[in-house]
Protein backbone atom coordinates (compact mmCIF):
# COMPACT_ATOMS: atom_id res chain seq x y z
CA UNK A 1 0.00 0.00 0.00
CA UNK A 2 1.45 3.33 -1.07
CA UNK A 3 2.47 5.81 1.63
CA UNK A 4 1.61 9.47 1.93
CA UNK A 5 4.43 10.99 3.90
CA UNK A 6 4.01 14.10 6.07
CA UNK A 7 7.34 15.64 7.08
CA UNK A 8 7.50 17.68 10.25
CA UNK A 9 10.05 19.30 12.53
CA UNK A 10 10.16 19.17 16.32
CA UNK A 11 11.03 22.73 17.29
CA UNK A 12 11.56 24.75 20.46
CA UNK A 13 8.42 26.67 21.39
CA UNK A 14 9.37 30.27 20.64
CA UNK A 15 7.18 31.45 23.53
CA UNK A 16 9.66 29.84 25.96
CA UNK A 17 12.81 31.24 24.43
CA UNK A 18 14.66 33.55 26.75
CA UNK A 19 16.87 36.38 25.58
CA UNK A 20 19.47 37.18 28.23
CA UNK A 21 20.61 40.72 28.97
CA UNK A 22 23.80 40.13 26.96
CA UNK A 23 21.49 39.14 24.05
CA UNK A 24 22.52 35.49 24.21
CA UNK A 25 19.68 33.11 23.41
CA UNK A 26 18.58 30.50 25.94
CA UNK A 27 16.47 27.67 24.51
CA UNK A 28 17.23 25.21 27.32
CA UNK A 29 13.93 25.68 29.10
CA UNK A 30 11.89 25.81 25.93
CA UNK A 31 9.34 23.04 25.51
CA UNK A 32 9.31 21.20 22.22
CA UNK A 33 6.39 21.14 19.82
CA UNK A 34 5.54 20.00 16.33
CA UNK A 35 6.12 23.12 14.26
CA UNK A 36 2.74 24.88 13.99
CA UNK A 37 2.61 24.82 10.19
CA UNK A 38 3.65 21.17 10.06
CA UNK A 39 0.36 20.27 11.74
CA UNK A 40 -1.27 21.35 8.48
CA UNK A 41 1.08 19.02 6.58
CA UNK A 42 0.11 16.10 8.82
CA UNK A 43 -3.60 16.90 8.47
CA UNK A 44 -3.23 17.13 4.67
CA UNK A 45 -1.59 13.68 4.59
CA UNK A 46 -4.37 12.15 6.71
CA UNK A 47 -7.10 13.73 4.55
CA UNK A 48 -5.39 12.85 1.26
CA UNK A 49 -4.94 9.21 2.28
CA UNK A 50 -8.70 8.94 2.72
CA UNK A 51 -9.26 9.97 -0.91
CA UNK A 52 -6.21 8.55 -2.63
CA UNK A 53 -6.03 5.37 -0.62
CA UNK A 54 -2.79 4.28 0.96
CA UNK A 55 -1.39 5.01 4.35
CA UNK A 56 -0.65 8.38 5.92
CA UNK A 57 2.66 8.26 7.76
CA UNK A 58 4.86 10.89 9.37
CA UNK A 59 8.58 11.49 9.12
CA UNK A 60 10.86 13.67 11.19
CA UNK A 61 14.58 14.32 11.40
CA UNK A 62 15.68 15.20 14.92
CA UNK A 63 17.90 14.39 17.87
CA UNK A 64 17.00 12.15 20.84
CA UNK A 65 14.68 14.82 22.27
CA UNK A 66 12.44 14.68 19.23
CA UNK A 67 11.39 11.15 20.15
CA UNK A 68 8.56 12.64 22.17
CA UNK A 69 7.15 14.11 18.98
CA UNK A 70 6.20 10.72 17.59
CA UNK A 71 3.24 10.11 19.84
CA UNK A 72 1.99 13.63 19.14
CA UNK A 73 2.25 13.06 15.38
CA UNK A 74 0.57 9.65 15.63
CA UNK A 75 -2.29 11.12 17.65
CA UNK A 76 -2.93 13.49 14.76
CA UNK A 77 -4.06 10.60 12.60
CA UNK A 78 -1.05 9.14 10.79
CA UNK A 79 -0.68 5.37 11.03
CA UNK A 80 3.08 5.03 11.42
CA UNK A 81 5.73 7.37 12.74
CA UNK A 82 9.19 7.40 11.13
CA UNK A 83 12.10 9.10 12.79
CA UNK A 84 15.64 9.80 11.63
CA UNK A 85 17.51 9.96 14.93
CA UNK A 86 20.73 12.00 14.67
CA UNK A 87 22.33 14.49 17.02
CA UNK A 88 23.50 16.43 13.95
CA UNK A 89 19.89 17.46 13.31
CA UNK A 90 20.28 20.27 15.85
CA UNK A 91 22.68 22.21 13.63
CA UNK A 92 21.40 20.95 10.31
CA UNK A 93 20.86 23.53 7.58
CA UNK A 94 18.63 23.14 4.52
CA UNK A 95 21.08 20.89 2.65
CA UNK A 96 21.54 18.42 5.48
CA UNK A 97 17.83 18.36 6.41
CA UNK A 98 16.81 17.59 2.84
CA UNK A 99 19.51 14.89 2.55
CA UNK A 100 18.28 13.19 5.72
CA UNK A 101 14.59 13.35 4.81
CA UNK A 102 15.20 12.31 1.20
CA UNK A 103 17.32 9.35 2.32
CA UNK A 104 14.57 8.22 4.70
CA UNK A 105 11.90 8.64 2.00
CA UNK A 106 14.00 6.49 -0.35
CA UNK A 107 14.33 3.87 2.37
CA UNK A 108 10.57 3.91 3.01
CA UNK A 109 10.38 3.39 -0.73
CA UNK A 110 6.75 3.01 -1.67
CA UNK A 111 5.14 6.45 -1.60
CA UNK A 112 2.80 8.51 -3.75
CA UNK A 113 3.08 11.90 -2.10
CA UNK A 114 5.37 13.81 0.26
CA UNK A 115 3.74 16.70 2.10
CA UNK A 116 5.64 19.44 3.91
CA UNK A 117 4.62 22.81 5.28
CA UNK A 118 5.96 25.94 3.62
CA UNK A 119 8.39 26.49 6.48
CA UNK A 120 9.14 25.57 10.09
CA UNK A 121 8.08 27.91 12.88
CA UNK A 122 11.66 28.31 14.16
CA UNK A 123 13.62 29.04 10.98
CA UNK A 124 10.84 29.62 8.45
CA UNK A 125 13.40 29.11 5.68
CA UNK A 126 10.93 27.50 3.27
CA UNK A 127 13.54 25.26 1.62
CA UNK A 128 12.61 21.72 2.58
CA UNK A 129 9.93 20.76 0.04
CA UNK A 130 11.77 22.07 -3.05
CA UNK A 131 15.02 20.58 -1.81
CA UNK A 132 13.47 17.15 -1.19
CA UNK A 133 12.00 17.36 -4.69
CA UNK A 134 15.44 18.12 -6.11
CA UNK A 135 17.14 15.39 -4.08
CA UNK A 136 14.67 12.79 -5.35
CA UNK A 137 14.21 14.52 -8.72
CA UNK A 138 10.45 14.64 -8.16
CA UNK A 139 8.02 17.35 -9.27
CA UNK A 140 7.25 19.94 -6.58
CA UNK A 141 4.29 22.21 -5.94
CA UNK A 142 4.66 24.87 -3.22
CA UNK A 143 2.28 27.46 -1.72
CA UNK A 144 -0.62 25.02 -1.92
CA UNK A 145 -3.91 26.33 -0.54
CA UNK A 146 -6.10 23.47 -1.81
CA UNK A 147 -5.38 19.89 -2.73
CA UNK A 148 -7.54 17.62 -4.89
CA UNK A 149 -6.96 14.11 -6.15
CA UNK A 150 -8.38 12.66 -9.36
CA UNK A 151 -7.18 9.14 -9.96
CA UNK A 152 -3.40 9.41 -9.89
CA UNK A 153 -3.41 13.15 -10.63
CA UNK A 154 -2.97 15.81 -8.01
CA UNK A 155 -4.63 19.14 -8.72
CA UNK A 156 -3.44 21.95 -6.52
CA UNK A 157 -4.49 25.53 -6.02
CA UNK A 158 -1.44 27.66 -5.35
CA UNK A 159 -1.68 30.99 -3.66
CA UNK A 160 1.16 33.24 -4.77
CA UNK A 161 1.81 36.90 -3.97
CA UNK A 162 -0.44 38.28 -6.66
CA UNK A 163 -2.22 35.36 -8.30
CA UNK A 164 -3.92 32.03 -7.85
CA UNK A 165 -2.74 29.15 -9.98
CA UNK A 166 -4.34 25.79 -10.55
CA UNK A 167 -1.68 23.27 -11.52
CA UNK A 168 -1.65 19.52 -11.90
CA UNK A 169 0.87 16.75 -11.66
CA UNK A 170 1.01 12.98 -11.89
CA UNK A 171 2.00 11.35 -8.62
CA UNK A 172 4.48 10.78 -7.05
CA UNK A 173 5.21 14.39 -6.14
CA UNK A 174 6.24 16.69 -3.30
CA UNK A 175 3.97 19.48 -2.08
CA UNK A 176 4.26 22.29 0.46
CA UNK A 177 0.96 23.36 1.99
CA UNK A 178 0.03 26.78 3.35
CA UNK A 179 -1.56 27.05 6.82
CA UNK A 180 -4.90 27.86 5.17
CA UNK A 181 -4.97 24.52 3.34
CA UNK A 182 -6.88 22.92 6.24
CA UNK A 183 -7.71 23.19 9.93
CA UNK A 184 -5.89 20.49 11.89
CA UNK A 185 -8.06 18.75 14.44
CA UNK A 186 -6.89 18.78 18.03
CA UNK A 187 -6.35 15.15 19.06
CA UNK A 188 -8.88 13.84 21.56
CA UNK A 189 -8.19 11.37 24.35
CA UNK A 190 -9.09 8.41 22.16
CA UNK A 191 -6.64 9.49 19.46
CA UNK A 192 -3.89 9.99 22.03
CA UNK A 193 -4.48 6.54 23.51
CA UNK A 194 -4.54 4.93 20.06
CA UNK A 195 -1.27 6.70 19.18
CA UNK A 196 0.56 4.72 21.86
CA UNK A 197 -0.20 1.50 20.00
CA UNK A 198 0.90 2.64 16.55
CA UNK A 199 4.27 1.56 15.14
CA UNK A 200 7.33 3.80 15.43
CA UNK A 201 10.23 3.17 13.06
CA UNK A 202 13.62 4.63 13.90
CA UNK A 203 16.42 5.16 11.39
CA UNK A 204 19.97 5.92 12.47
CA UNK A 205 22.12 8.11 10.28
CA UNK A 206 24.41 5.09 9.60
CA UNK A 207 21.41 3.20 8.19
CA UNK A 208 20.88 5.99 5.70
CA UNK A 209 24.45 7.08 5.02
CA UNK A 210 23.67 10.75 5.49
CA UNK A 211 26.41 13.25 4.67
CA UNK A 212 26.30 15.97 7.35
CA UNK A 213 28.84 18.29 5.72
CA UNK A 214 27.50 21.69 4.72
CA UNK A 215 28.99 24.93 3.46
CA UNK A 216 27.01 27.25 5.70
CA UNK A 217 28.39 28.05 9.11
CA UNK A 218 26.38 29.77 11.84
CA UNK A 219 28.74 32.40 13.24
CA UNK A 220 26.44 34.09 15.74
CA UNK A 221 22.97 33.78 17.23
CA UNK A 222 21.68 36.65 19.31
CA UNK A 223 18.43 38.17 20.50
CA UNK A 224 16.84 40.79 18.30
CA UNK A 225 16.21 44.02 20.08
CA UNK A 226 13.35 46.09 18.90
CA UNK A 227 14.27 49.50 20.23
CA UNK A 228 10.98 50.93 21.30
CA UNK A 229 10.00 53.64 23.74
CA UNK A 230 7.99 51.31 26.00
CA UNK A 231 5.83 54.07 27.45
CA UNK A 232 3.06 51.97 28.96
CA UNK A 233 0.17 53.66 30.73
CA UNK A 234 -1.16 51.22 33.28
CA UNK A 235 -2.36 53.30 36.19
CA UNK A 236 -5.22 55.75 36.51
CA UNK A 237 -8.45 56.66 34.87
CA UNK A 238 -9.16 55.38 31.34
CA UNK A 239 -10.03 58.84 30.02
CA UNK A 240 -6.75 60.28 31.30
CA UNK A 241 -4.73 57.47 29.76
CA UNK A 242 -6.44 57.96 26.42
CA UNK A 243 -5.82 61.69 26.55
CA UNK A 244 -2.17 61.13 27.28
CA UNK A 245 -1.84 58.59 24.45
CA UNK A 246 -3.58 60.86 21.94
CA UNK A 247 -1.24 63.72 22.84
CA UNK A 248 1.81 61.45 22.49
CA UNK A 249 0.71 60.21 19.06
CA UNK A 250 0.13 63.78 17.91
CA UNK A 251 3.61 64.72 19.06
CA UNK A 252 5.04 61.77 17.10
CA UNK A 253 3.47 63.25 13.96
CA UNK A 254 1.83 59.98 12.99
CA UNK A 255 -1.83 61.04 13.09
Amino acid sequence: MSNIIACYKWVADEADIKINSDLSVDTKKAKGKISDYDRNAIEAAVQTAKILGGKAISLTFGNAKSKQSLKDALSRGVEEGYWVNAEEAINADGVVTARALAAAIKKIGDFSLVICAEGASDTYARQTAPRIGAALDLPVITSVSKLEIEGNTLIAERKLDDCLEIVKVQLPAVVAVLPEANSPTIPGLKAVTAAGKKPVIEFKSEDLGIDFVSNTEVTETKGYVMNRKNIILSEGDAADKVKELAAALRKEGVL
Partner: protein, 304 residues
Amino acid sequence: MAGIYVYSDRFDIAAELIRFAKETGKEAAAVSLDEGAAQQLSKLGADKVYLLNGDSPIAENYGKAIAEFLKNEGADLFVVGATARGRDIAARVAGYLGCGMVSDVSSVNYIDGKLVTERMMYGGAVVQSEALKGLSVVTIPAGKFEAAAKEGTSEIISIDVTADNRVSMVEKAAIVKEGADLKAADKVVCIGMGMEKAEDIQMAKDLAAVLGADIGCTRGIAEERHWLPVEQYIGISGVEIKPQLYISMGVSGQVQHMFGVRESKVITAIDTNEKAPIFKSADYGIVGDMYEIIPLLSQALKNI
Protein backbone atom coordinates in the same frame (compact mmCIF):
# COMPACT_ATOMS: atom_id res chain seq x y z
CA MET B 1 31.43 33.64 -16.22
CA ALA B 2 32.08 33.69 -12.46
CA GLY B 3 30.25 36.32 -10.46
CA ILE B 4 26.81 37.00 -9.05
CA TYR B 5 23.68 35.87 -10.87
CA VAL B 6 20.41 37.59 -10.10
CA TYR B 7 16.84 36.44 -10.66
CA SER B 8 13.44 37.72 -9.61
CA ASP B 9 9.97 37.24 -11.02
CA ARG B 10 9.44 40.89 -10.08
CA PHE B 11 11.29 43.52 -12.10
CA ASP B 12 11.58 46.01 -9.21
CA ILE B 13 13.33 43.43 -7.00
CA ALA B 14 15.58 42.29 -9.87
CA ALA B 15 16.69 45.92 -10.28
CA GLU B 16 17.57 46.08 -6.56
CA LEU B 17 19.49 42.82 -6.71
CA ILE B 18 21.47 44.00 -9.74
CA ARG B 19 22.48 47.02 -7.69
CA PHE B 20 23.66 44.76 -4.86
CA ALA B 21 25.59 42.52 -7.30
CA LYS B 22 27.31 45.49 -8.93
CA GLU B 23 28.26 47.05 -5.61
CA THR B 24 30.18 43.94 -4.58
CA GLY B 25 32.59 44.64 -7.43
CA LYS B 26 32.05 41.17 -8.87
CA GLU B 27 30.65 40.44 -12.30
CA ALA B 28 26.89 40.95 -12.23
CA ALA B 29 24.58 38.89 -14.44
CA ALA B 30 20.80 38.92 -14.62
CA VAL B 31 18.88 35.74 -15.40
CA SER B 32 15.54 35.95 -17.17
CA LEU B 33 13.00 33.44 -18.45
CA ASP B 34 11.12 35.90 -20.60
CA GLU B 35 12.25 37.96 -23.56
CA GLY B 36 10.41 41.14 -22.50
CA ALA B 37 11.88 40.97 -19.02
CA ALA B 38 15.36 40.37 -20.47
CA GLN B 39 15.03 43.54 -22.58
CA GLN B 40 14.03 45.57 -19.52
CA LEU B 41 16.83 44.11 -17.40
CA SER B 42 19.41 44.90 -20.08
CA LYS B 43 19.03 48.63 -19.35
CA LEU B 44 20.29 48.37 -15.77
CA GLY B 45 24.03 48.07 -16.24
CA ALA B 46 24.44 44.34 -15.56
CA ASP B 47 27.53 42.86 -17.21
CA LYS B 48 25.37 40.31 -18.96
CA VAL B 49 21.73 39.29 -19.23
CA TYR B 50 20.99 35.62 -19.81
CA LEU B 51 17.70 34.67 -21.37
CA LEU B 52 16.90 31.01 -20.69
CA ASN B 53 14.48 29.76 -23.34
CA GLY B 54 12.23 26.82 -22.64
CA ASP B 55 8.68 25.70 -23.24
CA SER B 56 7.01 26.02 -19.82
CA PRO B 57 4.91 28.97 -18.64
CA ILE B 58 5.80 28.11 -15.01
CA ALA B 59 9.05 29.71 -13.80
CA GLU B 60 9.51 27.06 -11.08
CA ASN B 61 9.85 24.43 -13.80
CA TYR B 62 13.26 25.89 -14.67
CA GLY B 63 14.86 25.07 -11.28
CA LYS B 64 16.97 22.23 -12.59
CA ALA B 65 17.83 24.11 -15.79
CA ILE B 66 18.99 27.15 -13.82
CA ALA B 67 21.09 24.94 -11.53
CA GLU B 68 22.84 23.36 -14.52
CA PHE B 69 23.35 26.77 -16.13
CA LEU B 70 24.93 28.23 -12.96
CA LYS B 71 27.22 25.23 -12.63
CA ASN B 72 28.36 25.50 -16.24
CA GLU B 73 29.04 29.20 -15.82
CA GLY B 74 31.04 28.71 -12.61
CA ALA B 75 28.81 31.18 -10.74
CA ASP B 76 29.82 32.33 -7.24
CA LEU B 77 26.38 33.28 -5.96
CA PHE B 78 22.75 33.09 -7.06
CA VAL B 79 20.64 35.87 -5.58
CA VAL B 80 16.87 35.58 -5.84
CA GLY B 81 14.05 37.97 -4.93
CA ALA B 82 12.16 36.55 -1.94
CA THR B 83 8.70 36.25 -3.45
CA ALA B 84 6.65 33.04 -3.14
CA ARG B 85 7.86 31.96 -6.58
CA GLY B 86 11.41 33.17 -6.03
CA ARG B 87 11.82 31.23 -2.77
CA ASP B 88 10.63 28.06 -4.46
CA ILE B 89 12.97 28.43 -7.44
CA ALA B 90 15.93 29.35 -5.22
CA ALA B 91 15.48 26.30 -2.98
CA ARG B 92 15.14 23.98 -5.99
CA VAL B 93 18.31 25.41 -7.53
CA ALA B 94 20.12 24.99 -4.20
CA GLY B 95 18.71 21.46 -4.01
CA TYR B 96 19.94 20.47 -7.46
CA LEU B 97 23.32 22.07 -6.76
CA GLY B 98 23.45 20.49 -3.31
CA CYS B 99 24.72 23.83 -2.04
CA GLY B 100 24.08 26.12 0.92
CA MET B 101 21.24 28.62 0.93
CA VAL B 102 20.13 31.36 3.27
CA SER B 103 16.49 32.45 2.97
CA ASP B 104 15.02 35.91 3.41
CA VAL B 105 18.16 37.64 4.62
CA SER B 106 17.95 40.92 6.48
CA SER B 107 21.51 41.71 5.43
CA VAL B 108 24.08 40.28 3.03
CA ASN B 109 27.70 41.40 2.58
CA TYR B 110 31.08 40.27 1.44
CA ILE B 111 33.50 40.71 4.34
CA ASP B 112 37.14 39.89 3.54
CA GLY B 113 35.95 37.97 0.53
CA LYS B 114 33.53 35.87 2.60
CA LEU B 115 29.80 35.98 2.09
CA VAL B 116 28.12 36.86 5.38
CA THR B 117 24.37 36.99 5.97
CA GLU B 118 21.92 37.79 8.75
CA ARG B 119 18.37 36.54 9.04
CA MET B 120 15.59 36.37 11.60
CA MET B 121 14.63 33.20 13.45
CA TYR B 122 11.89 32.27 15.91
CA GLY B 123 9.52 34.74 14.35
CA GLY B 124 11.89 37.65 14.72
CA ALA B 125 13.08 37.05 18.29
CA VAL B 126 16.55 35.95 17.23
CA VAL B 127 19.05 37.10 14.59
CA GLN B 128 21.31 34.44 13.11
CA SER B 129 24.53 35.30 11.28
CA GLU B 130 26.00 32.85 8.82
CA ALA B 131 29.11 32.60 6.66
CA LEU B 132 28.86 30.75 3.35
CA LYS B 133 31.50 28.94 1.35
CA GLY B 134 31.49 28.07 -2.34
CA LEU B 135 28.59 28.51 -4.73
CA SER B 136 25.62 29.58 -2.63
CA VAL B 137 22.03 30.75 -2.98
CA VAL B 138 20.48 33.66 -1.07
CA THR B 139 16.96 35.07 -1.21
CA ILE B 140 16.48 38.77 -0.51
CA PRO B 141 13.15 40.51 0.16
CA ALA B 142 12.10 43.68 -1.68
CA GLY B 143 13.42 47.00 -0.47
CA LYS B 144 16.82 45.95 0.87
CA PHE B 145 18.75 47.85 -1.81
CA GLU B 146 18.07 50.78 -4.06
CA ALA B 147 17.20 49.92 -7.64
CA ALA B 148 20.06 49.96 -10.15
CA ALA B 149 20.00 53.09 -12.30
CA LYS B 150 19.53 52.97 -16.06
CA GLU B 151 22.94 52.57 -17.62
CA GLY B 152 23.98 51.43 -21.08
CA THR B 153 22.70 48.26 -22.68
CA SER B 154 23.84 44.85 -21.51
CA GLU B 155 24.47 42.06 -23.95
CA ILE B 156 21.57 39.56 -23.94
CA ILE B 157 22.74 35.98 -24.32
CA SER B 158 20.03 33.55 -25.26
CA ILE B 159 20.38 29.92 -24.16
CA ASP B 160 17.99 27.06 -24.93
CA VAL B 161 17.16 25.01 -21.85
CA THR B 162 14.85 22.12 -21.00
CA ALA B 163 12.03 22.87 -18.59
CA ASP B 164 10.69 20.23 -16.23
CA ASN B 165 7.13 19.95 -17.53
CA ARG B 166 5.78 17.46 -15.04
CA VAL B 167 3.80 20.20 -13.29
CA SER B 168 1.44 21.84 -15.79
CA MET B 169 -0.75 24.91 -15.61
CA VAL B 170 -4.51 24.45 -15.65
CA GLU B 171 -5.59 27.98 -14.87
CA LYS B 172 -4.23 31.24 -13.55
CA ALA B 173 -6.13 34.18 -12.09
CA ALA B 174 -5.13 37.44 -10.44
CA ILE B 175 -5.98 37.62 -6.74
CA VAL B 176 -8.83 40.00 -6.15
CA LYS B 177 -7.93 41.69 -2.90
CA GLU B 178 -10.95 41.76 -0.61
CA GLY B 179 -9.48 44.22 1.83
CA ALA B 180 -6.95 46.98 1.68
CA ASP B 181 -3.35 46.49 0.61
CA LEU B 182 -1.91 46.44 4.09
CA LYS B 183 1.67 46.40 2.84
CA ALA B 184 1.19 49.93 1.57
CA ALA B 185 -0.98 51.20 4.45
CA ASP B 186 0.09 54.35 6.27
CA LYS B 187 -1.83 53.45 9.42
CA VAL B 188 -3.07 50.08 10.60
CA VAL B 189 -5.57 49.20 13.30
CA CYS B 190 -5.06 45.58 14.32
CA ILE B 191 -7.53 43.23 15.95
CA GLY B 192 -6.39 40.37 18.18
CA MET B 193 -7.96 37.42 19.95
CA GLY B 194 -8.91 39.63 22.89
CA MET B 195 -11.89 40.79 20.86
CA GLU B 196 -14.96 38.88 22.02
CA LYS B 197 -17.38 38.90 19.07
CA ALA B 198 -17.19 39.45 15.33
CA GLU B 199 -19.66 42.34 15.62
CA ASP B 200 -17.13 44.21 17.73
CA ILE B 201 -14.99 44.71 14.62
CA GLN B 202 -17.18 47.78 14.15
CA MET B 203 -15.35 49.38 17.06
CA ALA B 204 -12.04 48.89 15.23
CA LYS B 205 -13.60 50.23 12.04
CA ASP B 206 -14.75 53.36 13.85
CA LEU B 207 -11.22 53.99 15.10
CA ALA B 208 -9.82 53.26 11.64
CA ALA B 209 -12.26 55.72 10.08
CA VAL B 210 -11.12 58.49 12.42
CA LEU B 211 -7.46 57.75 11.67
CA GLY B 212 -7.80 56.98 7.97
CA ALA B 213 -6.33 53.57 8.79
CA ASP B 214 -6.73 50.10 7.31
CA ILE B 215 -7.76 47.07 9.36
CA GLY B 216 -5.45 44.16 10.00
CA CYS B 217 -5.64 41.24 12.39
CA THR B 218 -3.71 38.36 13.93
CA ARG B 219 -3.60 34.89 12.41
CA GLY B 220 -6.15 33.54 14.90
CA ILE B 221 -8.78 36.09 13.88
CA ALA B 222 -8.42 35.12 10.20
CA GLU B 223 -7.70 31.40 10.34
CA GLU B 224 -9.45 30.17 13.47
CA ARG B 225 -12.38 32.55 13.79
CA HIS B 226 -12.64 33.50 10.10
CA TRP B 227 -13.75 37.01 11.00
CA LEU B 228 -11.53 38.65 8.39
CA PRO B 229 -10.00 37.35 5.14
CA VAL B 230 -6.59 35.64 5.41
CA GLU B 231 -5.09 38.46 3.30
CA GLN B 232 -5.56 40.71 6.31
CA TYR B 233 -3.55 38.84 8.90
CA ILE B 234 -0.19 40.25 9.85
CA GLY B 235 2.82 38.12 10.71
CA ILE B 236 5.57 35.88 9.49
CA SER B 237 3.27 33.69 7.42
CA GLY B 238 0.94 36.60 6.60
CA VAL B 239 1.48 40.22 5.62
CA GLU B 240 4.46 42.27 6.75
CA ILE B 241 3.51 45.90 7.21
CA LYS B 242 5.46 49.15 7.54
CA PRO B 243 3.02 51.88 8.49
CA GLN B 244 3.71 55.13 10.31
CA LEU B 245 1.29 54.03 13.01
CA TYR B 246 0.16 50.60 14.20
CA ILE B 247 -2.50 50.41 16.92
CA SER B 248 -3.48 47.01 18.28
CA MET B 249 -6.41 45.96 20.41
CA GLY B 250 -6.45 42.64 22.23
CA VAL B 251 -3.23 41.50 20.55
CA SER B 252 -0.94 39.61 22.95
CA GLY B 253 2.11 40.02 20.72
CA GLN B 254 3.28 36.53 19.82
CA VAL B 255 6.61 36.67 18.03
CA GLN B 256 5.17 35.49 14.72
CA HIS B 257 2.82 38.45 14.70
CA MET B 258 5.44 40.94 15.86
CA PHE B 259 7.70 39.87 13.00
CA GLY B 260 5.14 41.39 10.66
CA VAL B 261 4.93 44.76 12.46
CA ARG B 262 8.58 45.34 13.31
CA GLU B 263 9.02 47.90 10.51
CA SER B 264 6.23 50.12 11.88
CA LYS B 265 7.36 53.60 12.90
CA VAL B 266 5.20 53.78 16.03
CA ILE B 267 3.72 50.71 17.69
CA THR B 268 0.81 51.30 20.05
CA ALA B 269 -0.88 48.52 22.01
CA ILE B 270 -4.08 48.29 24.00
CA ASP B 271 -4.61 45.14 26.03
CA THR B 272 -5.95 44.13 29.43
CA ASN B 273 -2.97 41.96 30.31
CA GLU B 274 -0.16 44.04 31.70
CA LYS B 275 2.23 41.15 31.07
CA ALA B 276 1.30 40.72 27.40
CA PRO B 277 4.55 40.53 25.38
CA ILE B 278 3.33 43.22 22.99
CA PHE B 279 4.02 45.92 25.58
CA LYS B 280 7.73 45.04 25.46
CA SER B 281 7.74 45.77 21.73
CA ALA B 282 5.50 48.83 21.87
CA ASP B 283 6.30 52.53 21.85
CA TYR B 284 3.08 53.35 23.62
CA GLY B 285 0.62 51.17 25.43
CA ILE B 286 -2.50 51.36 27.51
CA VAL B 287 -3.20 48.55 29.94
CA GLY B 288 -6.97 48.47 29.95
CA ASP B 289 -10.18 47.07 28.56
CA MET B 290 -10.38 47.73 24.84
CA TYR B 291 -14.16 48.02 25.10
CA GLU B 292 -13.64 51.05 27.28
CA ILE B 293 -10.44 52.45 25.76
CA ILE B 294 -11.08 52.20 22.01
CA PRO B 295 -14.33 54.26 21.92
CA LEU B 296 -12.67 56.89 24.12
CA LEU B 297 -9.63 56.91 21.83
CA SER B 298 -11.77 57.29 18.70
CA GLN B 299 -13.51 60.22 20.36
CA ALA B 300 -10.26 61.83 21.55
CA LEU B 301 -8.61 61.52 18.11
CA LYS B 302 -11.68 62.94 16.41
CA ASN B 303 -11.26 66.05 18.48
CA ILE B 304 -7.60 66.55 17.67
